[in-house]
Amino acid sequence: MSTQHSTPGAPGTAPERETTEGRVYTVTGGDWDEIVTAAAKADDERIVVNMGPQHPSTHGVLRLILEIDGETVKEARCGIGYLHTGIEKNLEFRNWVQGTTFVTRMDYLTPLFNETAYCLAVEKLLGITDDVPARASVIRVMMMELNRISSHLVALATGGMEIGSTTLMIYGFRDREVILDIFELVTGLRMNHAYVRPGGLAQDLPPGALDQIREGVKLLRSRMHEYDKLATDNPVFKARLVDVGYLDLAGCMALGATGPILRATGLPHDLRKTQPYCGYESYDFEVLTADTCDSYGRFLIRLREMEQSLRIVEQCLEQLKGGGGPVMVADKKIAWPAQLALGADGLGNSLDHIRKIMGESMEALIHHFKLVTEGFRVPPGQAYAAVESPKGELGVHVVSDGGTRPYRVHFRDPSFTNLQTMAAMCEGGQVADVIVAVAGIDPVMGGVDR
């Protein structure tokens, strides 16, 4: 939000023109005062301000349409769709396994949640939920929890930057780098992993991964208190966040808000506890709540959830210590024929497998070819799988007509639903608080628009 002041009385820098809707100003920053003064002079008191679609304080390409009276927001609306890429439509033209490479790009800050939710839904349709190897589930949980930390770090970092705390921003992105390095080691990519596949995982953890994760967890643990020191009791920080973006439990329920927004009202609703998946019932962690219903409560929840996620990651590390075990279902009609291996030119089919199908077994070659070009068939029906993403309930509705491609995939992205609460949080408040409220929602437009 630009709040620089230009000299009072200086010639206005905002071009204005008359339209049928009233006088329209094109604001290019730095001339806020003139606009407000001009609007106060005009007999028409209502001014409509377009924030975005390319405002640097937004999480992606979000357009906010604010009707303001002085500094007070009278009405607030969102314009979305700028990042719509038709992923759901595209999925209907790819086979079931290829779907993971698309869904990972939806909410690009929570790729592993998108993949896992999609795969859980496909596995439910296939009826192989219980056949997924335990090791695959543990790695899924570990990767998701690391991803939760990285997503929350971005939420804190960008939220801090938006209210002028660049230190918070730099700390957040610095620590996120630790997690992205782990992702790169394990999946080959920093984002858009396509690591979780229907039936298991693309590959097992590479050598040295456990050590690096252990080191990373230790490093992150030692740095968590910095956020506390920097922000939690910081009077400037609190002055901006406390009581801003208020939304109580009834509002959350009506508007479908989940995740930290819902937990900030005091309701400990977390799908990891209420509807456990991937074996979450066997981990020891707490669901954190606040009772403030405001942006400060959401900030605290994110901060504390990261510590809980570290706890879960440590428990996963303990379980993975033994090593070994498959990470893909045993059913050869579903399991990808080859485990991936990291070669000199990146991640690809393991050379051992290529040697086998090209040189030794004709049947293995046919099988590989059929499964890779055609894919597997999924019995007709529909399923809904939901995971607790860092932003709330990430639900996937999958329909199959018995073919090799999804008939319909719909993502209930928490950002999409949570962003609806923007109007309820912002109307009646100050313009500057809009930024804080939106940062508290933590919408990611890749997920909102899909």
Binding site: K89, F93, K124, E374, P380, Q382, H397, R412
Partner: protein
């Protein structure tokens, strides 16, 4: 309306399903044996000689009592009882109930959708406080019920999840809006309208949400092409995704 159109499906080449199944669940038909060349490209990749094989595509049929699960019968009893208390015959409101893959789906007739949703939300024994939105599905082969709106309702009180499905024919794509009951469906219904052209009657401002305002057509309907252009890769022309050989 729905049943009349369903009867009309007999003349459209959809095979008569096996005995014991209602015909409403058949959503299409598949030709050939290996599914090759059965895509939009119309080519015949199937050289097996079994090209005349016709297989109906059938979704899971309606279930009969008991529904099983830990609480399916309990919810169904409460739901039907609550509707009856309001003077509605459950058979009129609930077209069928499907239990499949540990999930229960109530197919609710669109005339009674809002009342049913309100009951599910308010009845203390049901109490589905949270609606997780609307998902549209287009079944061009499900004559008279082509457009489906699918709602997933979550009860935090009882820790349950159910699915409500409501359908409308292509030539009358109207389903009542549930925004009055679940305000969260505001954007979700706009999205479903945008992509499927389902008109949610009573929605406060049913406009496009993802596509540009002046967009023509409804992109996620099955008859809407994906689009795309062929690309060159290592000297070969790779057709657009919806033109490639597909296996159904």
């Amino acid at each position: 309306m729905t049943e009349q159109n369903a009867e009309g499906a007999e003349g459209t080449g959809v095979p008569v399903p096996r005995e014991g199944r209602t015909e409403l669940e058949v959503i299409g038909v598949r030709h050939g044996m290996f599914g090759a060349g059965n895509g939009t490209n119309g080519g015949s990749g199937d050289t097996s000689g079994y090209g005349r094989l016709v297989t109906p595509i059938a979704l899971p049929p309606a279930s009969s009592r008991p529904y099983g699960g830990a609480w399916f019968d309990e919810v169904a009893d409460e739901f039907e009882g609550a509707l009856e208390e309001q003077g509605l015959t459950p058979e009129a409101a609930i077209e069928k109930t499907v239990v499949d893959r540990d999930e229960i789906t109530f197919h609710v007739h669109r005339d009674h959708l809002v009342q049913a949703m309100r009951t599910l939300r308010d009845d203390p024994a049901l109490r589905f406080e949270l609606c997780t939105g609307v998902s549209g599905v287009h079944y061009p082969g499900d004559a008279g019920r082509e457009l489906h709106a699918v709602y997933h309702l979550r009860s935090i009180t009882h820790n349950r999840l159910i699915r409500i499905e409501c359908s409308a024919p292509d030539d009358d794509p109207h389903i009542p809006s549930t925004v009055a009951v679940y305000p969260t469906n505001d954007w979700h219904e706009r999205e479903t309208y945008d992509f499927f052209g389902i008109v949610f009657d009573g929605h406060p401002a049913l406009t496009r949400i993802m596509m540009p305002d002046d967009w023509l057509g409804f992109p996620q309907r099955k008859d809407y092409p994906l689009g795309g252009i062929p690309v060159e890769y290592k000297g070969a022309q790779i057709p657009a995704p919806d033109q490639r050989r597909s296996y159904s």
